[in-house]
Amino acid sequence: MSEIALYTRPQSLEDVSMHYCPGCGHGIVHKLIAELMDEMDLRDKTVAVAPVGCSVIAYEYWDVDCTEAAHGRAPAVATGIKRFRPDAFVLVYQGDGDLASIGIAETIYAANRGENFTTIFINNTIYGMTGGQMAPTTLPGQVTTTSPTGRDVATMGYPIRMCEIYDTLEAPSFIARTMLDSPGGIRKTKTLIRKAFEAQVAGQGFSVVEILSPCPTYMRMDPIQAMKHIKDKVSEYFPVKIFRDRTAE
């Protein structure tokens, strides 16, 4: 009797253990990206940009050319790469602090120029790598080490909705928000990342997928609770939807 492989590790994913905490969304998204690189035959032309944050060493997990970028500057770095190598498939991977706080200028301007690369934006409402500080996307009332009594919107402002901001710009080709709340959510996320990748391959300009992602460690929940929290609370503030899709045009 011969064995049939129902599931294998994607070729574009390195055969190493990841350093992420149990229940973290990064590993899931890394895998989805690697599967799509395989399925869309992108591995050989990918130049990826890793952020500063928990996914700082993403280059150890994908089997693709990859550079680091200073905190928040990945969209500018990707701009330089893509302008010099327009045939490369340029992937930017950023967290909420990186993309929506320190790097918001680079974020907005790369999108506004319609730079033809794809950003995968992990929104887990927290700074994980530095130990659970308040993020630009931390929910009202959420306890973090720098909002120890909960985010007080009167003095700390409100969580920033990035897809809604992107949606005010003319140039982006694909803008969507999705969530890792369930196996269905993961499958849906993969579908949307595929569309974003297709937009870049077709030369349609800037594409972005924001992924509401669990951080059980600093959400101070177990992994199942964290996924439920995303569905019940996080997606209530950050509506999950496709904001723009020009891939059909």
């Binding site: 591995r43 050989d44 032309k45 990918t46 130049v47 940009v49 700082v56 060493i57 280059y59 150890e60 994908w62 089997d63 693709v64 050319d65 990859c66 550079t67 680091e68 970028a69 200073a70 500057r73 500018a76 770095v77 990707a78 701009t79 330089g80 790469i81 893509k82 302008r83 010099f84 190598r85 045939d87 490369a88 498939f89 200028a105 680079e106 907005i108 301007y109 120029r113």
Partner: protein, 351 residues
């Protein structure tokens, strides 16, 4: 002799960079270097190369980083306050061993200061400027011709060592026009077997400065490169030094003034000469030290409160008195001012 053209220093620098093979230019407006950005906006597209006016100096240096990662000859230019903003990116370039050209057309600081010419960013330029152990090769042109030539050569130096190179100049050299002969050597960028191109038919490449637990190895590699640069890339020019017993040390605009002053005092029999560093990192320590035996005094002239003079003192190691004359806050000395300082030295030593 090839035909001479008249250009501003800023424009000549831009044309030099283009002839040196600059693939990508990224910049943000700031006086007194705007003619350079405008020149690149006009001419880079003619050569089918990339020009972007970025959203900030920070974005510009990171676009330079990205283009360099992809194997391009890339550059940015700014003036002092803008160059402060680029320091983070320069540290990353150095940490990731990436070639790039950064131009600082210096103006008066600190803070917003003024748009008047200055040399007050010497420490920032020669000590690395950003965080961590690194240095940037710092070229200091004194003529519009050198603005042009150094820009053309800078990419070769940057590529040879995989290290950022800076051209450190000032608003006066940037704004003035002088005749120059255009660079006519064909740019020959080396192969870059480290660049990120997509990993087709090969193992993947990673560009990084983050090496938890292994930073000493990366830094040792950088330091070894810097020692090579120190051995190979020191540049300077001397003027009337054969019999000099007073040596002026100055770079850029200040060096031009010193040369004029040497001519003036020589007419009166004062044996002054000039040593002009064309690189301030690596610094011509040995060349300066070599003159100590014949000198009564060294006079360092700068458009700042005294920065390069510290390197001169390190070179001289106490063997000769080192004096300093400087103007601050965007003031530029006249030739007559420098002449007066030299005369004060000679009367001082005779009395």
């Amino acid at each position: 002799m090839a035909k001479r053209v008249l250009m501003t220093g800023n424009e000549a620098l831009g044309e030099g960079a283009i002839r040196g093979g600059c693939d990508c230019y990224f910049g943000y407006p700031i006086t007194p270097q705007n003619e350079l950005t405008a020149y690149m906006a006009r001419h880079m597209p003619d050569h089918d190369r990339t020009f972007i006016q970025s959203e900030s100096e920070i974005a510009a240096i990171n676009m330079v980083f990205g283009a360099s990662v992809a194997g391009a000859r890339s550059m940015t230019s700014s003036s002092s306050p803008g160059v402060s903003l680029k320091q983070e990116g320069m540290s990353y370039l150095a940490g990731c061993c990436l070639p790039a050209l950064i131009v600082n057309v210096m103006r008066a600081g600190p803070g917003l200061g003024d748009i008047t010419p200055s040399q007050a960013d010497y420490f920032q330029a020669t000590r690395g400027g950003g965080h961590g152990d690194y240095r940037t090769v710092v070229l200091t042109p004194a003529t519009v011709q050198e603005m042009h030539d150094f820009a053309a050569e800078a990419f070769d130096i940057a590529d040879r060592y995989r290290n950022p190179v800076m051209i450190l100049t000032d608003g006066r050299l940037g704004q003035m026009m002088e005749p120059l002969t255009l660079w006519d050597k064909e740019a020959a960028p080396p192969a870059k077997p480290w660049a990120l191109t997509g990993a087709a038919k090969r193992i993947k490449r990673t560009i990084r400065s983050y090496y938890a637990g292994r930073v000493p190895e990366n830094n040792a590699r950088i330091q070894a490169t810097l020692r090579k640069i120190e051995q190979n890339e020191v540049r300077f020019e001397t003027y009337m030094m054969d019999d000099a017993d007073i040596m002026l040390v100055a770079f850029g605009t200040a060096a031009r003034l010193c040369r004029g002053a040497v001519d003036c005092v020589r007419a009166d029999g004062i044996r002054a000469g000039l040593l002009r560093p064309q690189t301030v990192w690596p610094f011509p320590h040995e060349a300066i030290a070599g003159y100590c035996d014949q000198l009564k005094t060294v006079l360092t002239v700068e458009m700042n409160a005294g920065q390069m003079v510290e390197d001169v003192r390190l070179a001289v190691e106490g063997r000769t008195p080192v004096r300093f004359y400087g103007t601050i806050g965007g003031d530029v000395p006249s030739v007559a001012d420098v002449v007066e300082q030299i005369r004060l030295l000679t009367t001082g030593s005779e009395s």
